[in-house]
Symmetry: C2
Subunit: 251 residues, 2 copies
DNA sequence: CGCCCCATTGAGACGGCTCAACTTGCGTGG
DNA sequence: CCACGCAAGTTGAGCCGTCTCAATGGGGCG
């Protein structure tokens, strides 16, 4: 959903476990997250405040609702889900984050995190202490602008999601999610057609306001109609035009 | 939904029509929008970049999708609605903005506005040129922080809205909207119980993902159950606890 | 007065939910 | 190695909440 700021993907210089040595300058995700206008010197200044910790395992929480807000995070590898839990224990998945995307802006407002963040598979993130980022943003105006842009992107995509939840039927919601994932794969120069879903049917359904049964049935129907092919989490998009149509169909 | 930044409410020093002479310093909304930590001198610097134009009439658009992004806006009086229109003409109301609240962050990401903004009644806004605000934010760190907070608040409330649209039934959605309005009235020291809705049933329904018929029926039922009283757009909340319960009921 | 827009109310249709049964894949332990 | 349990996913049958369609009422305005 959101774009990214400073995700250092070390899959290129695939460093082994333990502590991570990597830098923004030779990260193949920096085009996605750092402001393009940032010059080498500035990139290094940003690089210096970033903390790269050991990978999260599937199910590990990065933070939880109520935790003090200290940092935002750029996904370096894997995939991450954010979700709310309301007073009665109702959960709402609010987003999926892929490499090169930035999360954690919940928490900026109240200095406390407002959602839960959990890894959907083995994942690594760049932690960016927010106070230091603010200091740096005062000095590097393109960085400040970029921060505003990232948050603006999040707001825009959340509004699109409101439209999806409010106006589209099950097929439209599924199609919207699949095309969103496809576009975000394409941004990383991965195939926009063949992908492995990082999330369970449960998470898809929760995110889209549908039950797992409806998700399953809808995927099966799209498969039968040869719009996609489904094999568990392996998905192939076979008819983008049709998916586009479904996205824009009213409920 | 969003909080505010710099809304100068001139209803106190009720200046007449035509051009508006007002200042943040003696605006009774500044507590809502300016960072509390801002000292007098800084308030004046912010004040200087703000443009106060003539009021919008009901139905007037402040900007439309695709318009170049130049400013954000603080509502000074009246009420404003923002809405998306997708390719097929499907509309989605994405927010209602009351005095003291700030809108316009759509557009930050792409330098083009991503939604339409229209006045629901005679309204006035403070226009804040974004470039100048960015410049000032580089100099006044509390202002930069405040900007991040405002955008963070917007993101949080949008996520709450996703939960509402995805998980609550009609009663829960209506109750959630009513309580949200109530809290926002209370922030301005207005009665949290008696209010005049600024929007039509159509707009409520569109925002909440319901048809006008369902909105109408639900309001009638809540009236019959003595949870609220409804007379057109005049609403009295008579049982906050019950409304709270309804908010948290699963669908 | 008549028109139009907004809101209310009713009757019936339908999409997605609930409940339930079954399958598949995977890890554990006998 | 297979038996077993468990979690995730699929599929079916019936139900329910909201939508659709339609009729009616009320207020503002030319």
């Amino acid at each position: 959903m959101a774009s990214s700021i400073i995700a250092t993907n070390s899959s290129a210089n695939a460093c082994t476990h333990g502590f991570i040595k990597a830098s923004c300058s030779d990260c193949n995700l920096k085009g996605l997250c750092l402001p393009i206008a940032l010059d080498i010197g500035d990139i290094e200044r940003v690089d210096k405040i970033i903390q790269r910790s050991r990978p999260l395992q599937s199910g590990d929480h990065l933070y939880r609702t109520g935790d003090p807000f200290r940092s935002i995070y750029a996904v370096r590898s894997g995939s991450i889900k954010t979700y709310l839990v309301d007073e009665n224990g109702i959960e709402q998945v609010t987003g999926f984050f892929l490499p090169g995307e930035v999360l954690g802006f919940d928490g900026v407002a109240n200095h406390k995190h407002a959602c839960n963040v959990v890894a959907l598979e083995t994942s690594s993130v760049c932690e960016i202490p927010f106070e230091k980022l603010e200091e740096l943003s005062l000095q590097i105006h393109t960085l400040q602008h970029h921060m505003f842009q990232l948050m603006g992107q999040q707001i825009e995509s959340d509004h699109q999601m409101m439209l999806t939840l409010s106006k589209k039927n099950a097929e439209g919601r599924i199609a919207t999610l699949l095309l969103s994932l496809s576009k975000r794969y394409a941004r990383r120069n991965l195939s926009p057609n063949a992908m492995r879903l990082p999330m369970s049917r449960m998470d898809m359904g929760n995110f889209l306001g549908l039950t797992i049964e409806t998700v399953s049935r809808t995927l099966s129907r799209l498969h039968k109609e040869d719009v996609i092919s489904v094999d568990g989490r392996e998905i192939v998009l076979k008819n983008h035009e049709r998916l586009d149509e479904l996205c824009h169909l009213l409920q």
